[in-house]
Amino acid sequence: MPGMEEFHTGSEGSFNSDEADNIVKECIDNVVGGDDYSQSQVNKWTASIVERCLTQLVKMGKPYKYIVTCAVMQKTGAGLHTANSCYWDTAMDGSCTVRWENRTMYCVVSVFAVAIA
């Protein structure tokens, strides 16, 4: 689909982005897995996704602050582009972004982990 690209200037440090990736995918599947885009529900979905991801990440018990962002867009052919830029400690901090889609919508979730000094 045109426009689904990401430009990312951060880099992975001792943050395990694969683990975060799996957590995020599971959360998205659990929340919107079999659903079609619905304007009345989308607010609830995005809130659920970010809360679930955050809870799972915090449960890992690592010394990080976390930010989880989620964007859900209806599939109508519109172009969407997201970018993130981070000013941090590249050795310790990291991020991961997951792009998910089904027949009626796109979901882009980004996790940022910032080490606590």
Binding site: G3, Q39, T46, K75
Partner: protein, 102 residues
């Protein structure tokens, strides 16, 4: 975090990069990078002991629905964020800035 300043700078950055333009698929990647990098360099110039994350979404106006959300696990007394929404006739641009104290 000085939220007044954080409010102004992203708006200025977006305006200077995509101000008079129409949504173009071939240019949107470059616009997005420019907006995030400008915002980030303005923030780092403030010289405060913070780590920053800038997130920018540009979406073409075609009537599609878009919903964004974020959740943060941090220190409420020192960390913060702000979101700025900008639009013109052909596109929306949402810039979110997160600042975390070192």
């Amino acid at each position: 975090m000085d939220s007044y300043q954080i409010d102004e700078d992203p708006m200025l950055a977006v305006e200077s990069v995509i101000g008079g333009n129409v949504y173009q698929h071939s240019r949107v990647k470059q616009w997005n990078s420019s907006v995030t990098e400008q915002c980030l360099s303005q923030l780092s110039k403030l010289g405060k002991p913070f780590k920053y994350i800038v997130n920018c979404i540009i979406m073409q106006k075609t009537g599609a629905g878009l919903q964004t959300a974020c959740a943060c696990f941090w220190d409420n007394s020192t960390d913060g964020n702000c979101a700025v929404k900008w639009e013109n006739e052909s596109m929306y641009c949402i810039v979110t800035v997160f600042g975390m104290a070192i």
